[in-house]
Symmetry: C2
Amino acid sequence: MHKIISIVRNRFLLITGILIVSQMLIQAAAPATWIWYPGDYEIWLGNKMNNRRTERGAFFPPFWKIDSHYVVVEFSKELDLSEPEEIEINVEGTYNIKLDGKLQFGMPDKFLLPAGKHQLNIKVWNQSAPPAIFVNGRTVKSDDSWRVTFEDKEWIDESGKASDTSATTYYRAGSGGFHSIDALPSAYRLAVTPLDVQTKELVNGGELYDFGRETIGFLQFEKLSGNGNMLIYYGESREEALDSAYCETLDKFSVNNGRVTDESVGLTYSITDSFTLENSKAFRYVYITKDEGVEYNGVSMLYEYKPEVYRGSFRSSDEELNRIWDVSAYTMHLTTREFFIDGIKRDRWVWSGDAYQSYLMNYYIFFDSQTVKNTIWLLGGKDPVTSHINTIMDYTFYWFMSIYDYYLFSGDRQFIAQIYPRMQSLMAYVLGRTNENGMVEGLAGDWVFVDWADGYMDKKGELSFEQVLFCRSLETMSLCAGLNDNEEDQAKYDRLAKELKEKLIPAFWSKDQQALVHNRLNNVQQPQITRYANMFAVFYDYLAPAQKQSVKQSVLLNDTIMKITTPYMRFYELEALCELGEHDLVMQEMKDYWGGMIGEGATSFWEKYNPEDRGAAHLAMYGRPYGKSLCHSWGASPIYLIGKYYLGIQPVKAGYGEFSIKPHLGGLKWMEGSVPTPEGEIKIRMDQKRISVTASAGAGYLYFSSKSTPKTTEGKIEKTDEGGYRIWIEAGEEVVVSYQF
Amino acid sequence: MHKIISIVRNRFLLITGILIVSQMLIQAAAPATWIWYPGDYEIWLGNKMNNRRTERGAFFPPFWKIDSHYVVVEFSKELDLSEPEEIEINVEGTYNIKLDGKLQFGMPDKFLLPAGKHQLNIKVWNQSAPPAIFVNGRTVKSDDSWRVTFEDKEWIDESGKASDTSATTYYRAGSGGFHSIDALPSAYRLAVTPLDVQTKELVNGGELYDFGRETIGFLQFEKLSGNGNMLIYYGESREEALDSAYCETLDKFSVNNGRVTDESVGLTYSITDSFTLENSKAFRYVYITKDEGVEYNGVSMLYEYKPEVYRGSFRSSDEELNRIWDVSAYTMHLTTREFFIDGIKRDRWVWSGDAYQSYLMNYYIFFDSQTVKNTIWLLGGKDPVTSHINTIMDYTFYWFMSIYDYYLFSGDRQFIAQIYPRMQSLMAYVLGRTNENGMVEGLAGDWVFVDWADGYMDKKGELSFEQVLFCRSLETMSLCAGLNDNEEDQAKYDRLAKELKEKLIPAFWSKDQQALVHNRLNNVQQPQITRYANMFAVFYDYLAPAQKQSVKQSVLLNDTIMKITTPYMRFYELEALCELGEHDLVMQEMKDYWGGMIGEGATSFWEKYNPEDRGAAHLAMYGRPYGKSLCHSWGASPIYLIGKYYLGIQPVKAGYGEFSIKPHLGGLKWMEGSVPTPEGEIKIRMDQKRISVTASAGAGYLYFSSKSTPKTTEGKIEKTDEGGYRIWIEAGEEVVVSYQF
């Protein structure tokens, strides 16, 4: 039996081997791609994203430093050609070509490279969009093996020759999947598809349109004509759309004999058969009032979206949970745009803390690595670092952690190499702001956020929460330095992390309260306990086992501790409870909390939800009646919780080279689903008698418990030290285990 | 008599007083001006300037880091209005308006401000050109009293209100003399005026056009028609224009039935009656070859220039010297463009060492403060500092010195306040690269330039020249810190300057050679003596009087020391000799050296001139037959030498609040001239019997010597300790002194 299994395994290993070889062949013939200075395109595109927000017709950019691309950049490639080769060239910008240091005439779109060893350089100037090049020949193709610099330190020296110096700072070029010579990166747009109104209603002389669920895109008017003004009020809720004085977004148009003027930007357009608005808005409802002279035949919209494959999936015996997963997936898709943004109505900005959760959810549904990288580049910004990311101290720390996470899920080591200089800059900024204890506290200009809370939270002094994130960030620096073979940095950050970790628990652990206190002022523990540091310390394993159990009782399951009312921090709270084995409890919490939003009519998940609120109070935030975002990425965390803690799948080695599967029914009769991996997916089905698993790549253990001796058709079940069982899973085989629930 | 003079003086004081009062009134009603983040427009415009260079049809940008503007900037002004006031608004970019923190609808071009105390904010995003605003109301006008930030650290806090923090970094807005609401700063262009060909000649089947002297601008073809190719070869010399294989700049056009394509950029234009080329070129000669099918009626050009008033003037009994002054002035005018550039053919770049001399010449002819400030901003760049300015160590030091010089000549203290943060950044970079002696030496990536020399010059180790400039830069930092009331920095840089100065002369002074040696390697003096450090140490007064006299003999007047062959370093060499009283010698040197270039046919002064070269060797440089620039700003130094050391005029206190006049005939029979000051000019005429002086503002001493007791019509002549005479000059009075030569 074992032998047969081995044969089966070998067959799959063979297939895997063929896949790897064919992948290598594909890589050798990898297509040319548009390349740029690493991060430049992402930062430039991010400026477009972040500057798309409006509030009641006013342009509303972010309030942190907005970086920009290097406007002059040089690309370089060493060539060794067996025969002459003509290359096609396209460039975003004004450019020159140097062959072996000699400038060539003009800006040719074709160029004949001679045989032999040569150095090809292309230098580009572009003020308004990132300098980018596309080169395509039989063997010479622009890709991330090209070098790039913004200051090549080359000059005509005394001898009259061009010379390079060792001080030249070259990086590998950045790229982002643009493989056509005509697909200019600066022309990139999301996809659109038409969407119809579900219902129309006349209210107070205006027309209220309902698109059936939360959506985003460009409103369209068919056969718009006549003369007069038209006002459009958008609502994520019916209440918001109908409240012309307080709705968060609106448009004003004046229609005039075949022309329409957008009053907020002062631009006039000619009306063709249908008129599509220039700026996207997020809404479910649209309320339109107009002068009598204005006419149109109908309203529809172009739904704007990032094309994504739903590689992760989930179904179970619980229809409410299935609905929670579906609404989470839709929320996630709406907020997955050029970047992972916070919310589609507001802020439409890239926030590091929000994005950090999007990355983790993304690994369990789209596995869209490009958008992860885009977002990390944008948030990393450019030197000099003059404030925390988004001005928020905690958001800087999430950024560090997101990078190693990305490596763990994707195995993409080249990205770690490219982003590492940004990590060094950001960490130097952080280390330059520590106090005499080597801890961080909010200095002038720092926003110490933690969470939106419906109660008092002190932000002064040393917050235990910030130290936990800081410590984890130092550990991340050390890990990434190691991946880059930077032993000096690896040792330095390892030492700093250890020093901080040694101080951390003694500094904040209260024996009386059996929990980490919220903060210290002048080295004195303050009495408040909050959930934040405690739950992070649980899943970062910073607490001793007994302390973890204490925290569970004294904090996590203690209703007198200030409750969390954002899905944002519920993410970590429920994660901590899962780490403590409270799967049944967390399942009920998910159903209550996210199910509660659905019960309130949510078609996407919200920025904040307090089950104790009633009616329109659910819509208010920031002192504004419709200030709350009803489609907020951090609302989608069930995707992550279900994938990681119920389907139970996570990477153990980078890129799922090794995985672990620890499924938990959490009270369900059955569940089934899949989790994407870089090279395929892991599928699992579990009921109270059987678990079946298939992984298309990688290998790893399936862990489970059973009241009686389990059986399997393939492989060998081992007992674990913890009293459970495990079985090793190889790629390609379906393993079915029979067990007793 | 004395009393009468006093009355006369009081009359002028009265007039001066009225002028001051009226100037204040004018300032109160100062016009609105376009404003931007300080330095942003200058850096953006500088990118256009620096990227205008071509070499044989190839785009040729600089090889140092090219900075860019902040793409999102917020402007702010505190208002206190007695009545409501409507403002006109124009903005370069997408913008919003906030009144007292509340966003206003749209992007209005008119806005009604309510009476009372209010805060007006305008936030602008512009990726391709610097965010800039123009606001004009009855009393509210955009000017440099507005604040500006690129990271206002404002956010919606927990209470839901917008809040400012003390960490907000605001600066006073930058401006540049754009006073019309329609004069978009990004649309700025130099002036043009038509210029005709002087002679036309047929050579080898092509046409050679001579414009009579060095010029710059856009070639024009009248009634260009037909079909075929046209090649245009530009020459600063006849030889260059006729050498199609080696001329430095050229154009290729193809003409096709009413359209013409620029082959270097691939752009096609429709031909109207006359066709003007898109890119300016520098030339005296143009050689054109074309296919038979191409026809045109005539060639002319649009001369492109910065409008300047020739406020400085000079005439003397020596016609050759007058011609030298005129050609210097023309050279200076050609290279005074949006910025002070090095040369109009090449590099067309802004180089700090070159610009430093242009500033000093400029003070004696145009007194164009705007172009000085533009150039200093551009060179100062943006954080982070990643290399020396233009990559050249010495060029960073000239930049520091240029700033205090500008203050001394202009009295513009606000500029010192605005640029000081850049000075701190640059000096931090320099101090981060000093060795264990606190001295600078060339590290990886540093270009240690000093000068182009026709002989060996060691660039390794500690160069005395670089330490002299470094020391002077530290002194400048201390002075500017003091002007900004930054006592901490003032003391710090003063201490650093003193520490370096104490080491300087002992480290490099050779008792044997009675001069500063060129360099030290591993703390050991090397034997070579060059002129550079020695001449700077003379006019910076770093040497004891006896040492100065030694240096004069052992170095400056010693023909065995490697000769200087660039006007660039001749500038300082002759300045040092003037400081040592060698006016007659320097006059002869000027006539020989610059007169020598005129003798070779120069219509503008050159980048380099070795009188020992013959024929076309004068045109070659950098290993290229026409590599040399024949119109190079550093060639124009006679303007400075004559103004400062013969007319003898210089500021003693900032902005010519006090001046000194020490005229020297230097062998001339007579001379007369004027030197501009911020508020007017100082005129002087001197022959061998009389000196007459008038200053329209400020006051100061006229110093002179006389073999017998001098006489004057006004004022009191005093004897000086040095055995000469002096007389105090007040603004507005003409003082005439009779003396014996």
